[in-house]
């Protein structure tokens, strides 16, 4: 595979006395799905926000397509091609699918929104992702959680994302919806976009991931490629070792 699109080297982030990230290295290449695993409080969301331009790192470098980048705002990161789909802040339920899809980048015809273009594009992009909308006027609130994630992903893809960050896209979903979202991730990856898939669910990660990086207490514990690591090892790394192994034993390996 080619050079990474985004390469983050030894990132640290402090909030006053609190050290949220303490040396994180991470990269993602075109057409791969790189899973970032970590338990709650491991620093996943700080990491995402650093990558998407919400936070500036205290130290460390972010390289984008080989150049050193210094994102001033989420808008900068977005324009460079880093799109983020947040777990629950992705969509506005009361607004139509079209309005959500184009939010912030509405196509204009003269002074007004070009609704013909907006609606037809939305319909066709959603169809590409495997969702047939009843109508582009349909409120997002009528869609299922998985469908909402898919709208957000389709939106990011349509607007030329090179890297797509998915923040726990499956955590609130049922089994069927989860597999739908995972299928979407697979589809996006195959189109040549680098996917950063954040999760604490090893099973979901294993289903689509090409590489796996574990984050624990603000540090990356190394990266493994598919086939180099077992789900059990990942689970252990995430939880930080021994106690988890014992716990798992008592639960009969179901976690």
């Amino acid at each position: 595979m080619a050079d990474p699109i985004v390469h983050m080297e030894n990132i640290t982030k402090h909030f006053g006395p609190v050290i949220a990230l303490n040396g994180v290295s991470f990269d993602v290449k075109a057409g791969e799905c790189h899973c970032l695993l970590g338990d709650n409080g491991a620093g996943k969301s700080t990491f995402i926000k650093t990558m998407s331009g919400v936070h500036k790192p205290t130290s460390g470098e972010i390289m984008f397509e080989g150049r050193k980048m210094n994102f001033a705002s989420p808008r900068d990161a977005m324009e460079a091609g880093i799109a983020t789909v947040y777990q629950d802040l992705a969509m506005i339920p009361l607004m139509s699918v079209t309005r959500n899809f184009w939010m912030g980048r509405e196509p204009k015809k003269g002074f007004f929104i070009d609704f013909d273009k907006a609606n037809s594009t939305t319909m066709s992009e959603m169809k590409k992702m495997g969702i047939n909308l009843r109508s582009p006027d349909q409120a997002v609130g009528t869609l299922s959680g998985g469908e909402r994630q898919t709208v957000a992903i389709a939106r990011a893809v349509y607007f030329g994302a090179k890297v797509l960050i998915l923040d726990e896209p499956t955590s609130a979903l049922g089994v069927r919806q989860t597999s739908n979202v995972l299928a979407t991730v697979d589809r996006v990856r195959k189109s040549g976009i680098g996917v950063v898939f954040i999760t604490h669910n090893v099973r979901h990660a294993m289903a689509v991931g090409d590489r796996f990086t574990v984050l624990n207490r603000g540090k990356t514990l190394g990266t493994a490629a598919r086939g180099e690591i077992t789900p059990e090892e990942l689970q252990d790394l995430m939880a930080g070792g021994q106690e988890m192994a014992q716990l798992e034993g008592s639960l009969g390996g179901t976690v």
């Binding site: 989420p74 808008r75 977005m78 983020t84 947040y86 802040l89 992705a90 969509m91 506005i92 339920p93 009361l94 607004m95 309005r99 184009w102 939010m103 912030g104 980048r105 509405e106 204009k108 002074f111 007004f112 929104i113 609704f115 169809k127 992702m129 495997g130 969702i131 047939n132 909308l133 009843r134 109508s135 006027d137 409120a139 609130g141 009528t142 869609l143 299922s144 959680g145 998985g146 469908e147 898919t150 049922g174 069927r176 919806q177 597999s179 739908n180 299928a183």
Partner: protein
């Protein structure tokens, strides 16, 4: 989620272009999910109600129609601003005080200090929209609820409105505006009766009554369409187009629907909110201009409680108090309902203190209906 045949993952699995499980949506449903529906139903109901109860009371003669049209137009002007602000997720409780403040400002500059009226008007617009911007900046900077911030301005503005003329002029009612505005081009924009010929013709064919005595004997009782109504229509149309057809309108919905989500996709949330606060201030100032130039005086107690009347009209018109959903046309219909009910009860000879009872019932009824409609739209429970 409601499992209505294509919910959950069904649509994804089916995939193909001709999914027989996707309901064809008829025109009826398209029409049903409009936020204006409650308003339209309400307007029809209210007109039937008063048509039966007060049909022969003069409510539907030319003067009567003009009367409730003017009242409704007043509500509409402030409801447009309040509606767009509410869609953007904020309130402005300082609207009523702003009306009093703007009126006194025009009178102070234009009458007491003798500046040309058009200058007085423009300065007043600048000051009031500036105050609106301050409201907005405080709300977005501090993250305090706009309810509290604008409540503070309700008192601050009212205080200045009484203090300034009291200190300078020893009185709180300033007259002489009509004389000072004589021949002023900008004042005329707020106080001219249009299409007088139409009413003279209507009087000739006997549709409109004429004055039977006095200096205006023989003239129609209505001299034209007041600018108040023109302004109301213009603002409603502009507000509606901006909200539904433009990029900025989409941002207003987004900001009110979920400010964080909007911010993530690059919508300038703070700017949108501040502009919306300035818009309500603009509408309040238009209201004040129309009023002072029609009645020829400004008083420090004008506009009391108008902020609530605006909010009530907006809520009757289908907007959500929590933001992100609403319609300017709906708010205008809400204003029409409000105006027709208020004046209609007079015409129907209902004890005037019961007006509040009716208002409360209508408000409750509207909110229940709107909540019900919204649930249909979004499928939420």
């Amino acid at each position: 989620m409601s499992d209505n045949g294509n919910g959950d993952g069904g649509a994804l699995a089916a995939g193909g272009p001709d999914d027989e499980r996707i309901k064809k949506t008829g025109g009826l449903r398209q029409w049903l999910i409009r936020p204006e529906l409650g308003g339209i139903v309400g307007v029809i109901a209210v007109f039937i109600f008063f048509g039966v109860l007060a049909g022969d009371s003069g409510m539907f003669n030319a003067q009567g129609i003009m009367n409730w049209s003017q009242i409704s137009a007043q509500f509409m002007i402030i409801a447009v601003g309040a509606c767009m602000l509410m869609v953007a997720g904020e309130f402005d409780l300082s609207v009523g005080s702003m009306i009093g403040f703007a009126g006194i400002s025009i009178a102070m500059f234009g009458v007491v200090w003798g500046w040309p009226m058009w200058v007085a008007i423009l300065i007043t617009f600048a000051i009031c929209m500036g105050v609106g911007a301050i409201n907005g900046v405080i709300v977005v900077r501090t993250g305090l609820p706009s309810f509290i911030v604008t409540l503070a301005f309700l008192f601050i503005l009212r205080g200045f409105t009484i203090f300034i003329p009291q200190t300078v002029e020893n009185r709180t009612i300033i007259g002489g505006i009509e004389e000072a505005a004589e021949g002023d081009w900008l004042a005329a924009v707020f106080n001219t009766d249009l299409a007088g010929w139409l009413f003279r013709w209507l009087a000739d064919i006997g549709v409109v009554d004429t004055f039977s005595r006095g200096t205006r004997a023989g003239e129609p009782v209505i001299s034209g369409i007041p600018m108040l109504i023109v302004w109301a229509f213009v603002l409603v149309i502009i507000g509606h187009v901006v909200l539904t057809r433009t990029r900025f309108g989409n941002w207003i919905f987004a900001v009110g629907g979920d400010a964080q989500a909007a911010r993530y996709v690059g919508v300038p949330v703070d700017r949108v909110k501040i502009i919306m606060f300035m818009t309500t201030a603009f509408c309040a100032t238009v209201f004040a201009c129309v009023q002072v130039f029609e009645f020829g005086s400004a008083a420090a107690d004008r506009g009391i409680l108008k902020e609530f009347e605006a909010i009530i009209a907006v809520v009757i018109g289908g907007a959500l108090l929590t933001g992100g959903y609403g319609s300017v046309v709906g708010a205008a219909l809400g204003a029409l309902i409000f105006g027709v009910v208020q004046q209609g009860l007079f015409f129907a000879d209902v004890e005037s203190s019961l007006f509040r009872v009716f208002l409360g019932v209508i408000l409750l009824f509207a909110v229940i209906l709107n909540t019900y409609i919204r649930r249909i739209i979004t499928g939420e429970r």
